[in-house]
Symmetry: C2
Subunit: 237 residues, 2 copies
Amino acid sequence: MNKRKIEVCLTPVLLPLYDIENSIVVVIDIFRATSSICYGIANGAEAIIPVAKVEDCLNYQQTDCLLAAERDGKVVEGFDFGNSPFAYTEDKVKGKTIVLTTTNGTYAISESRKTAYQVIVGSFLNLDAICNYLQKQDKDVLLLCAGWKNKFNLEDTLFAGAVVTQMGLDNFEYDDSAYAAEDLYLQAKDDLSGYTSKASHGKRMQKLNLEKDIAFCLNHNLTNVIPVLVGDKLVKM
Amino acid sequence: MNKRKIEVCLTPVLLPLYDIENSIVVVIDIFRATSSICYGIANGAEAIIPVAKVEDCLNYQQTDCLLAAERDGKVVEGFDFGNSPFAYTEDKVKGKTIVLTTTNGTYAISESRKTAYQVIVGSFLNLDAICNYLQKQDKDVLLLCAGWKNKFNLEDTLFAGAVVTQMGLDNFEYDDSAYAAEDLYLQAKDDLSGYTSKASHGKRMQKLNLEKDIAFCLNHNLTNVIPVLVGDKLVKM
């Protein structure tokens, strides 16, 4: 029997190199878009609509949607909030639809939805749920790291490695980046916080006093909820 | 004092994201283009002209250049040879100019020459020479992995990690991919051959019975020669 493929796309720029028609794509933007999306859906948000541009977000101004926009780690002026997970608590998001644009994560989602079999959203907050789900499917898997402005980043790759490690070589065929992600994760897993503190985006967030966000996004398995893209909306699977 | 930057560009697709006007670019295609280029220049080849396409190579048919062309691991039909290092021995290349096109490496060279301050060629065969040279310059460093058909590969990243490790955090500021490359190298360095055997291109070459090429390309420091791009030619620095 042919093994299923598990591949790691290290940045969205590389996505066109992958054939994902028969793949489940897991979008990964650990600091902080996909962590916040998982937390928001877990906390009862009805839907999160990822849009690529700030202007796309503004199109929803006359609706009752919450508008969330982040660029370069900061809330865009004039918006309700950005992508800090602490803005996605139950009291704020339950029953609401959120329109969200971020520097990296929402771009990765909009790119992958064009051709993937299915697009789901992963973070350490729902790591085991993602892995359990993927194990039970019969599709190939592409772990899509959002990166930072299309460059490689450490934290997204580490999460990809955490998933690869749980999938395992018995059932999956790895590509080179899956091997690399797994080995980096195994090296970092006992001190993810220390390891990611050297990451460029970790440093950037420290400068913006976002240490609490970083620590929160490294929590494992706070929820079993998996956000899945249906049409243009992320909803609870 | 600002530290110099050392960055790792994991595939040529990502090159446009880097500002390399003030950088020395080290092009890396371990299996086998840059290993063979280093070996050929060390063995007295007068020059190696990297060209992107097989057709570009054919333009030199009426000259006394040797024509070398590789695609998908094999010598292209009708050519003198491809990019096996064993075709670049002294008896074959001394005093000769070689026009070379390969699947990945020569594309990386032609892309980087457009804007880089300087382009040099690295491989395990001249690792220490490359590092000694880079230490003495005052430029930033970009380690450009040729990858496989624009995707990430393990062996090029490991070599990048070997260079990063020698440069060190005391003198250089790393980007995220430099951290990752260093950590992968430190994990793999005691058994590079075992580690790279899981790499997709390693497997591809095993199928083509190129194990001897792989083993040769993992030799360290056979030469102190550094090929440097001058105009459109790689020559001994």
